[in-house]
């Protein structure tokens, strides 16, 4: 640790979130939790949309009968919601497989849908909001038409939205269908083509790995990590995104980041995609919140140019806004300021100034924030 004085927010998570982090880090210890402690932990988990994940960890480590009935019921509720999302994800994939047939792949599942299809251990208890599928750009029009013919529709149908997504983004507007509880987001890349980071999309596809027993693929392990990294650190404003950081922690552990060779391969891959700075920032955050093994080494080894977008100021602000607060703000004003600054940062990163100005002129920055920031309401479920 450095000798320089650190503000509380530089040191990591606010105190109000620490009971949740403690339960996640050491689920076995929850066997001795008093009900008053559960009364704090469960609402925090729910608000962070991590109740199912917490439940999975607790039930793996603690005999159910040792937990108070009320606690069991809430943990069960978390698992039930997660099971619903998992089932609906698998059903959506089952339904679209025949529609994708004949269109050149690889068909690559991103993020939550990928973790579920691979049945990764850390996918249990997660609450994916939609199914993200990346297909080659040349297949996109055909697949889109196939879906429309099969009864799928665009959720947002205004001409401006359609134009925005198609011209500037790496994804189509979300698609929905009767009988499908999940949305389908079709991508041809993992980041908007006009942003400051330009991943090597050809390599994303070329190195994608098939999922055993499925027609679908996922990104290679390093790319999965990097996608999760930019999804949080570049493509979001951090607000209420603790679950995304937890995914990064899980993916780091899976590599594992603590292994020298794996770590160097990850750094190399980050260089290929121009993602060294986001990776460096993600490692700092993961270390601070989850004590992820290997992060210290990565932070030390990474030869990363300083940048105001990825530096200590950002770490401090992210620390303030990542977690659920459940009304226990340390300081309302500083968190609110951090939110605004991080939102501005996220727009700046994703669009060159001329495009930002165009959008601001067309629709106002407010609606831009709604369109571009897929901020999930942390208050629901």
């Amino acid at each position: 640790m450095t000798a320089s004085p650190r503000t509380p927010s530089m040191q990591g998570p606010p105190d109000s979130v620490r009971p949740l982090l403690a339960a996640l880090a050491d689920p076995a210890s929850t066997a001795s939790y008093e009900e008053t402690l559960w009364d704090r932990v469960i609402p925090l988990a729910r608000s962070a949309r991590l109740l199912g994940v917490l439940a999975h960890r607790v039930f793996e480590n603690v005999e159910r009968t040792r937990l108070p009935d009320r606690v069991q019921r809430h943990l069960d509720a978390g698992l039930i919601e997660a099971r619903f999302r998992r089932q609906k994800t698998l059903y959506l994939l089952h339904t679209i497989t025949p529609i994708l047939e004949g269109h050149p792949g690889p068909w690559v599942l991103l993020k939550g849908a990928g973790y579920i299809a691979q049945d990764l251990p850390f996918s249990h208890g997660r609450l994916p909001a939609d199914v993200d599928l990346m297909v080659p750009r040349t297949s996109l029009a055909g697949i889109e038409q196939g879906l429309l013919d099969a009864g799928w529709e665009f959720e947002k149908n205004e001409p401006y939205d359609q134009h925005y997504y198609r011209a500037w983004s790496h994804e189509l507007p979300p698609m929905i269908a009767a009988g499908q509880a999940m949305e389908l987001d079709l991508h041809h890349g993992i980041l908007p083509p006009v942003g400051r980071i330009r991943p090597d999309t050809a390599r994303l596809f070329a190195d994608a790995v098939p999922i055993a027993g499925s027609r679908f693929n996922v990104l290679c392990p390093q790319d999965q990590v990097l996608h999760a990294v930019v999804h949080l650190v570049y493509d979001s404003d951090f607000v209420g995104r603790l679950r995304d950081l937890l995914d990064i922690d899980a993916l780091f552990r899976r590599l594992p980041l603590s292994d020298l060779a794996a770590r160097h391969a990850l750094i190399e891959r980050a260089r290929l995609h121009g993602m060294e700075q986001p990776l460096h920032l993600a490692a700092q955050l993961s270390r601070a919140w989850f004590d992820t093994p290997g992060c210290d080494a990565l932070v030390a080894e990474g030869d990363v140019a300083a940048s105001p977008f990825y530096g200590r100021g950002i770490v401090a602000m992210a620390n303030r806004v990542l977690g659920p607060t459940n009304g226990q703000h340390g300081s309302d004003r500083s968190a609110r300021t951090s939110e605004l600054l991080l939102e501005a940062r996220s727009h700046w990163l994703r669009m060159p100034p001329w495009l930002l100005a165009y959008h601001a002129a067309s629709k106002g920055v407010r609606s831009l924030a709604q369109r571009v920031t897929k901020r999930e309401d942390t208050a629901t479920g």
Binding site: F84, Q87, K88, L90, Y91, H94, G179
Partner: protein, 105 residues
């Protein structure tokens, strides 16, 4: 039951882990993939139960239905079988091909 000696071609099978709740005339069936529940009429239930015992071809299903129909309707058995199979397929309860179907009553 007729003896199905000759090897049939394609066979229809019920998907795994279907749940069936039987009431007097109708049944409510749970589709474990979509999580939808469907009301089935007696003819559809009968075909579903036949397929739960073992996968069958369309001809076998038609032969089964022939037994249940009145003499003047028996020529319709084939068309009827086709319709019911289509219905069950559309609902996603039945698919073409082998499966180790297990059902829960």
């Amino acid at each position: 039951m007729p003896d199905f000696a000759e090897p049939p071609g394609l066979r229809f099978a019920v998907i795994d882990q279907v749940r069936v709740l039987e009431f007097e005339d109708e049944a409510v069936v749970f589709n474990p993939l979509s999580w939808d529940a469907h009301l089935l009429n007696p003819a559809a239930i009968a075909v579903l139960e036949l397929l739960l015992e073992a996968p069958r071809s369309e001809d076998e299903i038609a032969a089964f239905l022939t037994e249940a129909l009145q003499p003047d309707e028996q020529s319709q058995a084939s068309a009827y079988a086709q319709r019911l199979i289509n219905e069950l397929q559309t609902l996603g309860l039945v698919r073409l091909g082998e499966s180790t179907a297990s059902a829960n009553r």
